[in-house]
Amino acid sequence: MIRDITIGQYLPGNSVLHRLDARMKAVLTFFFIIVIFLCKNFWSLGLMIAFTLLFTAISKVPLRMMLKSLKPIFVILIFTAVLNIFYTDGGRELFGFWKLSVTDKGLYTAGFMVIRIICLITGSSLLTYTTTPTLLTDAIERLLSPLKVFKIQVNTLAMMMTLALRFIPTLIEETDRIMNAQKARGADLESGGFIKRAKALIPILIPLFVSAFRRAYELAFAMECRCYRGGEGRTRMKQMKLKARDLGAAFLVAALFCGVFFLNYRFKALI
């Protein structure tokens, strides 16, 4: 069902990860992702896995939800694994058939890539699972504010992002409603070839666009009525302040950074 789409879905909670400053979380996620790609052998990758699991545990996001966020990339994972198994040069051949051969190095590389991607998705899902979209865009706005020097309207961009995120669930609900209304009139969305199915979308897309425009106009009016004049000089109700736990989180990620460097240096690189 259409309700199952989980783009940046926030899971309400009160874990330490939920309460971290959104700016800090965004920056740390960024570094976390960089560290994933710095891992050069299984020792450092192991540390990476340990930290990923640790953060997941701290966040108290159910494992089921985590697996659900991995489901869409399952195909990519398989694809990556297969390509790496067959297209890695060198290493000891384990077995082969036709023109393809499977080497130990190929298997290692494949495993390595798959684990990296899983860590990557888990890390970034943790950010969106524990941060409300509004807080996230707020954080991005703050982090991008140095760009004002280049005359980029960061405020406006952030407002656009906030609104876009805010309206995803609304529009999904609207789509659901329109689909039901057309199905009630006998619209057949499930059968037929590609062209027939594409055509069957017209009765859904047209009302959806009409309603999106209507909502946009209404929102613009409402915003103007409350004296919205674009970004410059707006203050906010919720001030963001760094706390001890934010520093703690930063130290944790820094420790991960150092650990990965040490293990990379201590043991030989695999790839």
Binding site: K183, R185, S211
Partner: protein, 287 residues
Amino acid sequence: MAPVIKTVNLTHLYGEKTLFEVTAIINVSIEIEKGEFVGIIGHTGSGKSTLIQHFNGLLKPNSGKVLLDGKDIWESRESVRSARFKVGLCFQYPEYQLFEETVYKDIAFGPKNMGLGDDEINTRVRRAAGYVGLSGEQLEKSPFDLSGGEKRRAAIAGVMAMEPEVLVLDEPTAGLDPRGRDTVLGLIKEYREQTGSTVILVSHSMDDVARLASKALVLNKSEVAMFGPVDEVFSHGRELMKMGLNVPEVTRIFMGLRDRGLPVSTSVYTCEQGRRELLRLSGEVSP
């Protein structure tokens, strides 16, 4: 004869086995006879919309059954599809489903999906337009050029054109001005009188239910609280009020009169009944 719609222990949950599991309706067992006019009342979130979406197979029950003319609608793919046409469902704010270039084409969408011939479609579209009072000239307009009330009526015609055995309307008067409301309710009444079909009306207005419906179904916290003839349901005024629902305004007036010591009956549900009761009373009181 088997009832047109029968539900047996119908239960529906949203988001089953996730964190967001919500029970929408529990153990609903009702029977609706052919030709009845049933009003469904209940709070927002009491399960009204969920219930009616089971009548035409838009939602699949988690447990329990929905029988149309005695046959389970989830028996096969075809039976679900035929349920869509047997039970015409008109959602809240149906004008947002309009999409075609002309009103005519939009009303024809349903009949076309039924696979009818052009002549039959033409007759049905014109007939449905007649029920809702749209002129031939309006049929050639773009639906987006109509006024709010006309759009609503065009959308209702789109469901009526399928000529369903049961017409289900989810708050067809929401967001209309008083005149628009009267028009829409009037045309529903007329439609029923002309076609003799079964009508189910979901409404927040007790007055509308009292005036139009023959039976009332009260949903409270996902369960059926009351189901029976309108006057019987409204005679439980106090219980309805305990659920945070209400009785028709005129009934409330008569309950107030009664509380102030006037010997009036409180089983007054429409203005007409109220007028008669007052006349009876004045005949009794004045010599």
